[in-house]
Symmetry: C2
Subunit: 488 residues, 2 copies
Amino acid sequence: MGRVGLLGAGVIGGGWAARFLLSGIDVLLHDPDPDAERNVGEMLANARLSWSRLTMAPLPEPGSLTVVKEVEDAVSEVDFVQESAPEQEQLKRELLARASSAAAPETVIASSTSGLLPSRLQIDMAHPERLIVGHPFNPVYLLPLVEVCPGDRTAPGAIERAITVYRAVGMAPLRLQREIDGFIADRLLEALWREALWLVADDVATVSEVDDALRLGPGLRWSFMGSFMSYRLGGGELGMRHFLDQFGPTLKWPWTKLTDVPELTGELVEKIVAQSDVQAAGRSVRQLERHRDDCLVAVLQALRGQDTGAGAVVREWERQLVERAGRPSSAPEQDGLLVHSAVVLPEWVDYNGHAHESRLVQVFGDATDALLAAVGIDAEYLRAGGSYYTVETHLSLLREALAGQRLRVTTQVLGSDDKRLHVFHSLYRDDDDALLATAEQMLVHVDAGGGRAAPAPADLLARVANLTARHSAMPAPDGVGKRIALPR
Amino acid sequence: MGRVGLLGAGVIGGGWAARFLLSGIDVLLHDPDPDAERNVGEMLANARLSWSRLTMAPLPEPGSLTVVKEVEDAVSEVDFVQESAPEQEQLKRELLARASSAAAPETVIASSTSGLLPSRLQIDMAHPERLIVGHPFNPVYLLPLVEVCPGDRTAPGAIERAITVYRAVGMAPLRLQREIDGFIADRLLEALWREALWLVADDVATVSEVDDALRLGPGLRWSFMGSFMSYRLGGGELGMRHFLDQFGPTLKWPWTKLTDVPELTGELVEKIVAQSDVQAAGRSVRQLERHRDDCLVAVLQALRGQDTGAGAVVREWERQLVERAGRPSSAPEQDGLLVHSAVVLPEWVDYNGHAHESRLVQVFGDATDALLAAVGIDAEYLRAGGSYYTVETHLSLLREALAGQRLRVTTQVLGSDDKRLHVFHSLYRDDDDALLATAEQMLVHVDAGGGRAAPAPADLLARVANLTARHSAMPAPDGVGKRIALPR
């Protein structure tokens, strides 16, 4: 694609500018607001940061942004125009008429309108056959959805060209089967928004509570699965038909303010069930449930990283788990050494069929956690910020571990001082006691609060010294103090 | 908590069973359906897998599940009862009356009803003051939201005890300000669902299209930010008041089938604006936008891992980007060293907020793979079984890596012989070039087929020797040949 013309640079137009520019496309931008360029610059900075985090794939050199004085300058020498003016029909019609007089007849002109009908927007246009609606969602540079809707006079070729443009900048065009006010998504949003306004107006809930009711529950599902698929799963093994049978009647109850619902005739039920079967594409309810759960786990982990909404709930839950796990009365031992057990999970295995080195490091890390618990580092100590951090690990890999194998790590404390703990882990396959790997580690104590290397408190040191005395009296394992070098 | 009694083991009751059992709580379960135990077992298996992936925190030993014949057996010696029978008021009232006659007076009894009023459910109960609604969402073992609603006769103490129970199993209770049919979330869901049914009934969209309109757009936002906060951002720098001014009038347009909306009086606008300000907690629109974008990036990355919905769109976009960038003619280099890039994914981060050591080993492993590719070990060579295996890694950790940070690994070949490859990786934070970690590694060549250590073939050796000659002429990095030992 050559370059695009943008009319309007508010929240939506600025988002389009960012998406096109970061896709390597030059942009000519017109907006009467003198703040437009600053606004676009700020959105572009946010978008650039987001894209650089979103993907490791090679991004093209950004396109160039040119702010132009007149509508005509933005549209006369471009392949594609996207209009994002305020949501007023008369204003948009005049703007589109003016743009269409200046643009080449084959230039596709798209409107970002969130609800106005393309058949009305194209009335005053020269070459109305190249007008489509391309309705995006905020932030335009991250949300993939764009609803594509033709008007009465739109040519099929214009729709195809718009879809190609949107796909090329990473979007997912959803082509409407027929023109309707509000298209699809905004009709759904508006219905929910009206009810939300009633809940606040009637003092049933505050705006925060309404938002929490979404983002801690159904909103998590909606990030990967819409209402119909969610309800198919709500129907359990009996699926969509069962759901409609079971919950259809409750639609008649006066829950929401607005209760006009389509009659759930046999015909409508059959239509929904058939379309739902197509959507499920032969996957059983159990398969769909596992898919849903995998997605939820992934989304919850993502949000935990942001410490927000459901992710903040997961963090708090983890804090509780660590606290409750507390300190076992005594750590398991074998021949005087500490013992930690694990199983090779299927997802640890790489394309060779062997557990990846990184997952063995994870097992050694768990063994280190068990050692720390054994010397009395409990949840309270960790919460205050005190702990031992691993600063060096020397890992030797001797044999492969396969999925499902049970592992056993023995841990020997080789030495310690007021700040350091020198340990050696040996990882065995439980079946045949084969030594699979070893890890020699140096840990350093960090103090509560500051998180800096510092001597451990006296009571902890006493327990560490005790364990060190006991373990260092035993023979040192093979490989201690090894360095990596080619043989001479 | 001691143990809980569950009445009903369908999609919701089975989900409760899984959540309580995995939280280490014993469960007494009653359901007339002979399939109940199998259903719970299947849901428990899914839930166990999900929880083991969701967290690295220590999970307790699961509680024991006992299926009992009579309602009374499930409730008479437990601290807490959760009823999840079918959504029929008379059935629930009879069941709750029977349970309340058998349960100790102080046992809290919660109903999972998604819309029935607690004041009606408690009518026939002995000790109605301990009845609350605790309305969860499917899957109960993963979604944190539970709406807590008291009836007219519910005692405040019962609400507090229920909230404590729900928090203890990792949920986020949302306490309703007043009793209302459908509570909060289901009123919102129903409003959207009714509109969705109309869209399908009127052949505007199929069920898949409706679902895509959610999950590729607004549904992504709803996983971490509800309608009110989303629209505050839709108002740009002018915030909620501007949004209400700008889009308030469109609420009067006949978009949805149902258009009765609260009058946006000055009073209502002030209320919403004030509550929205409280929710924003002093964060500027730019701060909120960055937070939103960080969450969207995290969620998109999470869903990319699942190759579904918006995640599948991102994958396809990345394929396009790689294709358009073309295949690099040579491996990326910096100052003559090989360079590999990565981003700290949310799921790499442990409960301290830092990337786990094991994930940095994974990044070093990827850098090693890139090195092997650079000396010509291609997919065909790997498929035949030939490769270099890592046998030793000496890892030094200097600084923490946080979620979302971009990482860069430079790789220097320190030496090689006919079988061995001695390399040194340095991992930097891209933002500020801080050195976070190093890894010295010894790799050994294994031959195709046998998988035993063996000299590399001549052409591969020549390329390795070439790279070694080039890299070993450069200064050796700090830390080469280090061994782990306490200072003398």
